[in-house]
Symmetry: C2
Subunit: 367 residues, 2 copies
């Protein structure tokens, strides 16, 4: 395990190198510039080897003496410098804190360093991508909204936390779950169940599904944040646990699944450290309607937006598997979608006592 101090030193070294290179250029009488990866769509691809979305190797230069770059160049240096200060203070801050900390009127001018957070956020992403560091390693806290419970003990700071003893609430997943912060001490679970919705997670927790089925249950409350995704990746990589996803049978649930599995375009530069390609899709599917005799009153007709999104999903390289194409075709043919809560029609505990156990037993997953 890498400790925080060692890791911080490496990060500071990278930030200092950035500054020293600029200084060298100035001392040599050159116009200072930094090399940055291009983060636009044209430089993003699905990597068949790692099975994640990745950033390509195109780069561009940000030049201080190019008037179109000058402001951004100055801002990039300010952001890098502030991050270094935050690390030295042994703190973690939000990207909004960072924006405010840096915002000031430049002395002797009417000009502000930053006008809004929309100016500082992309520069943080530039630094993450160019230094090949996670936001967490830069001591920046991403929002986190997940909850977790199950047979696992973690150490977080000086606290040892037994996730079987979290009552009806659950443990709130921290923003930073890197191994120097959160250590997985003891884990006897057979698999991890990633549940799209908070309300459904509460059903599984109330029924103590994790105890009866010896698994970890986690929710991201909709689109999963980095903390949940990274924790799931660690459970899969370090502890070889299978990851199963339980989502609404609609293009939105299926997309959330795909982000957990291979990542998102906007975080392409970090996906190797966030995505979990071994994740499998356990449900819901439109095929479940027939398999589990779900009354059609609780299915919902697709709307125009659903159909448009479905066509997009169908075209994504990572959804090209014939099983997924068949599911998309069936959804379109039947013209329905279905929410997880719809299973309540079959009984309140149908989802935890019949649907899930049967799905797992029969290995009836989508890839």
């Amino acid at each position: 395990m890498v400790d925080t101090k060692t890791k911080d030193k490496e990060v500071i070294k990278k930030l200092e190198n950035l500054g020293e290179n600029v200084l060298k250029q100035i001392n040599a009488g050159e116009g200072p510039q930094v090399q940055l990866p291009v983060r636009s769509l044209g430089n993003i691809y699905f990597d068949n080897k790692s099975k994640t979305i990745k950033l390509g190797d195109k780069t561009s230069e940000r030049q201080f003496l190019n008037i179109a770059h000058t402001r951004k160049f100055m801002q990039t240096m300010l952001v890098a410098n502030e991050i270094k200060k935050v690390i030295h203070q042994n703190a973690t801050v939000s990207i909004r804190d960072l924006y405010y900390a840096l915002k000031h009127t430049i002395e002797g001018t009417q000009e502000n360093t930053f006008e809004d957070q929309g100016e500082s956020d992309p520069l943080i992403e530039d630094l993450e991508a160019s230094l090949n560091l996670l936001r967490e390693e830069l001591h920046l806290a991403a929002s986190a909204k997940g909850i977790i419970a199950g047979p696992m003990v973690v150490k977080d700071g000086n606290d040892t936390i037994d996730l079987t003893k979290m009552g009806s609430g659950g443990w709130s997943v921290p923003s930073n779950v890197e191994e120097d912060r959160v250590t997985i001490k003891d884990i006897s679970a057979d698999y991890v169940l990633f549940i799209e919705k908070d309300a459904v997670w509460r059903r599984f927790n109330e029924d103590k599904f994790w105890q009866k089925n010896n698994c970890i249950i986690i929710t991201g409350r909709g689109q999963a944040a980095r903390g949940e995704r990274r924790l799931v990746q660690r459970l899969n990589r370090e502890h070889k646990l299978p990851i199963y996803s339980l989502m609404d049978a609609d293009p939105w649930g299926m997309y959330i699944y795909s982000v957990i599995k291979q990542g998102s375009i906007s975080l392409s530069y970090s996906e190797e450290k966030l995505a979990t390609p071994e994740t499998q899709y356990i449900g819901l599917t439109v095929g479940d309607v027939a398999k589990f005799k779900i009354p059609k009153e609780v299915t919902i007709k697709l709307n125009q937006l659903d159909i448009k999104r479905l066509d997009e999903l169908k075209s994504y390289e990572w959804f090209k598997h014939k099983k997924w194409q068949a599911e998309f075709d069936l959804m379109k043919e039947k013209n329905i979608k279905m929410e997880l809560e719809a299973l309540s029609k079959k009984g309140i505990r149908f989802i935890t006592e019949e649907y899930l156990p049967q799905k797992i037993k029969s290995g009836d997953f989508l890839p």
Copy 2:
């Protein structure tokens, strides 16, 4: 302490009374009807005695034989019956589960019992108001998104949870924190700090503010859900702890505060059990800008929507105190608002090490 079984019995009795009255009317050859409190704005007021928003005593009748009421009458009976079943199964369900569980095509017709959740949700509120029961007592889970930490031990089911040992994550506040579910076992805190924003809560948790200042820190991540509000009320009523609110200095943050303190119009029928009138507003205020020498670059100009909302707040009876009126006037005069994160301009830990301690020490609160 009331145990769950006793409480459930009382609730079931109330639901059965509702049904038995209808049955009696039918047996007597009368058209069945139920009496329900009117929940529209005209029947809602600020009660100066309890200092909470309240529902008045106007009622209306829902009559089965009035063709305009027939469908709703049938639906009300279905909802009451399903809630009884849920309680008997010793489960808690979401209001969406309830909707799906009840949705079906009525035999021999083309008619669905419910078309969408917009039909079932208001009927749940009708039952809560007419039976004078909290949603939680009907075994319905509200969404919950809060996080809490600090010197307090709770018992939730069979789990004893020490909220000083929750690492960087915190304990996720359950949807139902009624005393038959969550028992406050041990509490040594001097006060409760209710923080509007998740990211700011994480700053307080990372700095172990709750340890240094012997307090409970809780966030509702924006508008507080019922679970957080009810827990805060219990900490105030049962343990006599002062409640301090820390919000953005804008009409939205101040409104969130007012909901914690005296409640909301939409939940008027439950506010006596949810609101905490003793809550005080610790900050931010526009007055803080001068008091703490906050650079004006990190304040934000009010927009049209802010000004409109500010005028609404100014007119609310519960904001009539001269200190609040002065704050609203100052906000309008200076034409600025300010986010909590803006304090980062004065240093990352300014908010936890200077601002808050100084505010508490000087008792510089708004009522």
